[in-house]
């Protein structure tokens, strides 16, 4: 606790002695010259004008460092990072004959073994919106991944086939921080297009490079999968449209 006291109490008609003057002046200036503490500082007075200005950096948006489309803002008490894809035209001629937002950023055919079994990194197919490599300070990492996805598959005209909404056709998205899963959609049924928002939070250490990676998996293992029973439709695909990934690092 930083405080100082007067050692020479002066009365009327006193004169200042050198000793009292030196001690008093030395006392309060010594406090000023580096000992000011929480007690001298009023609460709720410090704002951004008192802080070092925020800075802006580019961060990796691909695991191999081949793109730095991520934006980072480094603040005094926290930092924000974001990367997003930029699909913005409604001119994709969609079967049978109408224009919609597209084309998709990634398409995985469920007819052609176009993906390997397991949990796969979306950044292998999408350059922006699904991966961040960021510097962090000890504290907490909080953020969200947003993914526009559809997985229509099989025609209900297939005799006896039940592989639609409610059957065993599933997709799932995950968020990994430093290869540890921190959020997932759980298995989601095929049969429609939707946008999922995956919030995540994780304690984090001070590191030069923390990776945040959106990954996915999909299965089609419903009943009646024998080819003879399936009437494949034009676009039996898992499609991924716009992606967004942001994170906030709150320092300890």
């Amino acid at each position: 606790m930083s405080k100082t006291y007067s050692v020479g109490v002066h009365q009327d008609r006193d004169y200042a002695t050198a000793k009292a003057f030196n001690q008093d002046a030395s006392g309060f200036l010594a406090e000023f010259n580096g000992k000011l503490d929480a007690q001298q500082l009023p609460y709720e007075t410090i704002d951004d004008s008192n802080m070092v200005a925020n800075s802006r950096i580019a961060v990796d948006s691909r695991p191999d460092g081949s793109a730095q489309d991520g934006v980072g803002v480094i603040m005094a008490t926290q930092s924000y990072f974001q990367v997003e894809s930029t699909l913005n035209t409604f001119t994709w001629a969609r079967y049978p004959a109408a224009d919609v937002l597209g084309p998709p950023l990634a398409t995985f055919s469920s007819q052609n073994n176009s993906w390997a079994s397991g949990i796969l990194s979306l950044s292998a197919n999408i350059t922006k919106g699904s991966f961040l490599r960021i510097p962090t300070s000890e504290g907490f990492l909080r953020g969200a991944a947003q993914i526009d996805v559809e997985y229509f598959f099989v025609s209900q005209e297939a005799a006896g086939f039940t592989g639609n909404f409610g059957a065993g056709w599933r997709w799932q998205f995950y968020v990994f921080v430093n290869d540890v899963m921190v959020s997932t959609t759980g298995e989601q049924p095929a049969g429609r297009r939707r946008t999922v928002n995956l919030p995540f939070a994780a304690p984090i250490a001070s590191q030069d490079s923390v990776t945040i990676d959106v990954r996915w998996s999909a299965t089609f293992d419903g009943a009646g999968t024998s080819p003879a029973n399936i009437k494949l439709i034009e676009d039996a695909n898992l499609r991924v449209f716009n992606c967004l990934l942001w994170a906030r690092n709150q320092y300890r």
Binding site: F32, L41, D47, F153, R192
Partner: protein, 217 residues
Amino acid sequence: MSNASFNYQDARAVITATNLNQPFTALKDASDGTSGKIDPSNTRSEAFNRNHFKQSVGPNVSDSDFDSNETVYGFNPAQTEVFTTIATFPVNLALQPNDCLRLGSNPLVTTTSVNTLASPLIRSESAFYLCWFLTIGGVDVQIGYPFGYNTIVAGDGNTGSSDNKTLFYERLPMSYCYLPSIATTVTAIKVKIYFDDATHYRVDLKNLYLHYVWAKF
């Protein structure tokens, strides 16, 4: 660095008015900006804590949009291929370069087929999108990119009778971080909806939960 010093007075010397006043003048000059202001060289390590930070001025949640009434979008050809505002949050935010305006919304949606066609709907007739906008200089500026939803909730959507489904009460959470690189004054935060074909479905939205966080430091 903002430090102050005083002239040490020898014993038995008569202290002049100038010398007597000098340390107080030095303190004033080193703290009011004449020669400096209080900076980290004046404070102990860890002198600041969270209580010293100024609280942000609220509210940052729009009451009206937090608990908004149900409104119907779509089922209206005029809304085809245009962005229609579903939520407006008037604000007055003078964002500085490299501030962060973090946005969130979580509308509650019900979709209903009102298909009047002889044939079932196809997917391209039944998609809608949500997107963030900010009013900057009196103009609605799109930030971020559209995220899509399909009103068909079952079936392949291309053929068959799968257009007659109704989806009840699903949340559509969305978030975004606006990170301006230049000073930007924002007067409204908006969410807009876009239909490829706004004829055959109605999208009922309510309780939009529109909110923001303005992070400055």
